[in-house]
């Protein structure tokens, strides 16, 4: 699709030389002097635009050419408007005079000239000027017989108050609100464009204009909306469409656009809140409804007396109610069905916005939204409409005293399970969670229970959503969910593979005649393995932390290890594990931390076998094992049995090197009486013996076939740990010293089977010698290898030894400066 031709075009445009360019400019000026519009003129203008846009550095056009282009903006031919606008957008910003010229001399601003003014505006003052001009154009327009060229006004105003809200004054806001009410509610209900009833033989006078129709073909019985059709449309019907398109944004912004509300506003609102609070204090629900309803019905009947903003809100409300009714009709065209969905989303959002601004409307809006939920909740193709409905329930459910349980169940319990592969729904649902997290935690705390379901979004499309999960994951980590969540995170690649299989299973026929069936797919369909996959695909937590026979599951999914989706998922897991551990350390008590240590030790060998996955997870485990034990050193003594079991298994040296090294370090560092008084001499001795056995084994023979030599760090950590333990129980010192001197002897004879690199061997032996020398003086060894706590915490000026030199230095400096 992308061709060499395009590349060479761009190259040509970039490399055009200055003299050639000047010739081109002068030719173009000559062409523009000719009155008739020719193909050559248009082509040259287009070429000029290409040259300007292909260059990263702006070019200045010669003054004459620039002037001509500015004058073309008001040309009657649209091609010239478009091209001159496009070219001028690529040049240096127009000077103030040029901007004024355009604004004043184009008798009627067209959409392309306005686009130029917008993009090349120099300052907020320019924008305000443009804004004022457009609004006065809107105000002063005659209602009949004008060309439809001012329809772009509303989109431009939308841009202006999106990006620069101070452009509009309070009067502008009032005027615009009034015009919007007119267009939204009182647009004509007959078809425009000359369509009329009556046959060929009827005279023009008896031709009646046809009424507008609904999307299913029936005649429309109420006011005009975006879901009404006709042969042609009148201008106010077009403005109806443009008004609705910007309505939500206008409702959201008009409060920030003009600063303070009027006195009438406040009086109304005060009255309303007084009646509400009076009723609530009486604790009688019917009285609340009674008083509020009467207030509302009073306002709706006398809506003409409402100030403009309130009137707009009321009309917006009516428009949305009508839209929701209209969406119940079956549209004849597919494109219109899609539009109906979009309109439902917009209508519910506007209702939500209006209710936030004026809570008295909740009681009128809720029945409508509730009925919509009832209609759509069973149809998954309307899932995206249910997201704003959920937002509505979240914002106003409490006020309306409605039970929202079924909504949460649908959105958290069903959607992720069935629609995890819809990227747009994923984006919208996660956005909803992110923006409303505090509110959801308060009003729908059960959403945490559905975390296995929510993780499906991550398992399916990790690159797109991992950043969102970094924000969301901390909320899912509680003391109750911590262990199960850790298991789920570690099994995320398995979940990813399972989701792929689930989709494939529903697409492919039961018996694949091609013969190249996937083993994992067969396993997925096999009833005896059903339990595994059902557990992975569960929607709620609480069924159990993890399953037995995880290694069987990993074998079944072995071929999934190189599926791209599973690989992408596995790359997201370490990041999220870090987030998880950082959070869990703040909510966990010592018992839970102990449990998590055991989980880490157990799972370090129970991971889906993928290229770098285990290594990355081990790295995360090591980091956080250290952190846990630094925080609560007594954990090491508590879990000494399991830690010793882990450290005493030689196979772990080769398969889980990173974790092993850190466990050994932890044992050496924290298994002492000064850390925890429960640490007895026999415990130290049994630990010593376990580590000694491993060290003997790995330094006496070559590594088992299929594994590499252990890294020097493992051996030195073992040696250091043994030395530390020996320094606490001096009977053990001779045993260590014996081993270390043997080590020195062995290494002198040349290479050893358990170490490849000569430099590494030298480093190991050097360390051994240092430790041996240290252990010759047991009390020194003890204070070096097991320093008392006050040595490890710096005390600065409180330390007598350190304070003196510091004080002297300060005094010297003070005296010298004089």
């Amino acid at each position: 699709m992308y061709s060499h031709g395009s590349e060479s075009l761009i190259k040509q445009a970039r490399e055009i030389q200055e003299p050639e360019l000047q010739k081109f400019y002068s030719r173009l000026v000559k062409l523009l002097q000719v009155k008739e519009l020719s193909h050559e003129t248009l082509d040259s203008l287009q070429r000029l635009q290409l040259i300007l846009s292909a260059n990263k550095y702006t070019r200045t056009l010669p003054a004459e050419l620039q002037q001509r282009l500015v004058s073309l903006l008001s040309s009657p031919a649209e091609q010239l408007q478009v091209l001159s606008s496009a070219v001028l957008r690529e040049t240096l910003p127009l000077s103030g005079e040029e901007l004024n010229y355009i604004q004043e001399n184009t008798s009627q601003l067209n959409t392309h000239a306005t686009a130029l003014l917008l993009s090349r505006a120099g300052s907020r003052a320019d924008l305000s000027k443009l804004c004022a001009q457009l609004i006065s154009a809107l105000e002063s327009r005659p209602s009949e017989g004008s060309p439809p060229s001012l329809m772009f006004t509303l989109p431009v105003l939308n841009t202006l108050f999106t990006l620069s809200p101070e452009c509009l004054t309070k009067d502008h806001v009032t005027l615009l609100s009034k015009k919007l009410v007119d267009w939204l509610r009182y647009a004509s209900i007959v078809q425009g464009g000359g369509a009329s009833s009556g046959g060929f033989f009827m005279g023009p006078r008896s031709r009646q204009p046809l009424p507008i129709a609904e999307l299913d073909g029936s005649v429309s019985g109420d006011f005009f909306t975006v879901l009404c059709v006709g042969q042609g449309f009148t201008e106010d019907q077009w403005m109806n469409v443009y008004s609705f398109s910007m309505l939500r944004h206008w409702l959201l912004s008009y409060d920030t656009v003009s600063s303070s509300s009027t006195v009438v506003d406040t009086a109304n609102r005060l009255q309303l809140s007084l009646s509400l609070s009076h009723s609530l204090s009486n604790d009688d629900r019917s009285e609340v409804e009674g008083s509020v309803v009467s207030m509302v019905s009073a306002t709706s009947s006398s809506s003409r007396l409402l100030p403009p903003k309130e009137r707009l809100r009321e009309k917006a409300f009516q428009y949305c109610q009508r839209l929701i009714e209209q969406c119940d009709r079956k549209a004849q065209k597919k494109a219109d069905t899609e539009l109906q969905k979009a309109c439902l989303v917009e209508a519910v959002c506007i209702l939500d916005c209006v209710c936030v601004q004026d809570p008295s409307m909740v009681f009128r809006a809720f029945p409508c939204v509730k009925a919509l939920f009832g209609r759509l909740s069973s149809d998954l193709s309307f899932a995206r409409v249910l997201v704003p409905i959920t937002q509505f329930y979240l914002n106003h459910g409490e006020l309306a005293a409605v039970d929202c349980g079924s909504v949460w169940k649908l959105v958290f319990g069903q959607f992720p399970a069935e629609l995890f592969n819809d990227p747009f729904l994923t984006h919208e649902l996660l956005r909803f969670l992110r923006l409303n997290l505090e509110s959801v935690k308060l009003r729908a705390p059960e959403f945490i229970r559905f975390f296995p379901n929510i993780l499906k979004f991550l398992a399916w499309n990790s690159p797109a959503v991992v950043e969102d999960f970094v924000d969301l994951l901390p909320s899912l980590v509680t003391a109750g969910t911590a262990v199960e969540l850790l298991h789920s995170l570690l099994d995320l690649p398995c979940l990813s593979a399972t989701l792929v299989l689930q989709l494939r299973s529903s697409c492919l026929p039961l018996s694949d005649p091609g013969g190249r069936g996937l083993l994992s797919l067969d396993a997925f369909r096999n009833p005896s393995f059903r339990g595994f996959f059902l557990f992975l695909l569960r929607t709620e937590s609480g069924l159990g932390d993890t399953m037995d026979r995880l290694n069987t599951l990993h074998e079944l999914l072995a071929e999934a290890a190189d599926w791209p989706r599973v690989v992408q998922c596995s790359q997201a897991v370490p990041v999220l594990l870090h987030v998880y551990f950082n959070t869990v350390i703040t909510v966990a008590d010592e018992k839970l931390l102990a449990h998590l240590i055991l989980v880490m030790l157990e799972r370090s060998g129970l991971l889906l076998s993928m290229a770098t996955y285990s290594r990355e997870v081990h790295r995360v485990f090591s980091c956080h094992l250290l952190r846990f034990c630094k925080l609560r050193p007594s954990l090491v003594v508590d879990q000494s049995r399991e830690l010793l079991e882990f450290a005493g298994t030689t196979a772990n040296v080769y398969r889980k090197e990173e974790v092993y090294t850190h466990v050994v370090w932890l044992l050496g560092e924290y298994l002492s009486a000064s850390t925890d008084s429960r640490c007895s001499v026999s415990l130290i001795t049994s630990c010593f013996e376990a580590l000694e056995a491993v060290l003997f084994e790995i330094t006496s023979s070559a590594p088992p076939p299929g594994t590499v030599c252990p890294a020097p760090r493992v051996i030195t950590s073992l040696m250091s740990a043994l030395a530390k333990l020996a320094s606490r129980s001096h009977d053990l010192i001779p045993r260590v010293s014996l081993f270390l001197s043997k080590l020195r002897t062995i290494s002198r004879s040349g290479s050893v089977p358990w170490c490849d690199d000569e430099e590494d061997l030298v480093a190991i032996v050097t360390r051994g010698e240092e430790l041996w020398a240290l252990l010759k003086a047991p009390s020194v060894a003890q204070s070096v290898l097991t320093p008392p706590p006050y040595v490890m915490t710096p005390r600065w000026h409180r330390d007598i030894n350190l304070a003196m030199p510091l004080q002297l230095r300060v005094l010297t400096k003070l005296t010298h400066s004089q």
Binding site: Y2, E78, Y242, R248, D336, A342, V345, F424, A464
Partner: protein, 200 residues
Amino acid sequence: MVRCFLIHTVCPVSALSAGESRVLYSRVFGPDESVLTEQQRELSPEERRLLHKEKISVVAQVRSAIFLSREASSQLLVETVLGEEAVAMQDADSGVVHLRVGDPFTAEMSALWLGVQSLGFTLVCEPHENLLLAEGTLRNLTRHCLENLHMLGQGSEQVLLKSNRIDVLLSRLLSHGQLLFLNHRFTQILEKEASAYTAK
């Protein structure tokens, strides 16, 4: 509102390094961000370079999203030819990238994308916008671009040489970046206007 509409490559381009994309068409709506911040106005070449950098950043993120999505779904790209626009549209993959604050816009944005073979069509809009409507608009615009500019096959030069047609299309269907709720009748009328322009 929609901040910008971009058409760019998602396949490797020989003249560029791997990972870089060529932007074939870009239209930014509204004033430059530098006007809106209270910074002193710098030289305009700086601004243009800034705008350029923003576009490049968006395109880079979208391109990697498309790449990862296609890799994950193990999709084989089938080249279609002129006349098979409907098939190309059906096979196109779509998604949305969440652009975080400062990367590259000062506010959070959503970038909706549609990947049609080796080209990507991206619509960057404010996150609170109606994404259903935005998706529909993007599909509609893409279909028009494919049909009017004969982009399937070897024809991507037309995007460069006839960018004014895209300008006109945008001025009707996405006027100044405003997403419009257009039913089939309104759309037909606007499309007729746009094609009348093209025929001239």
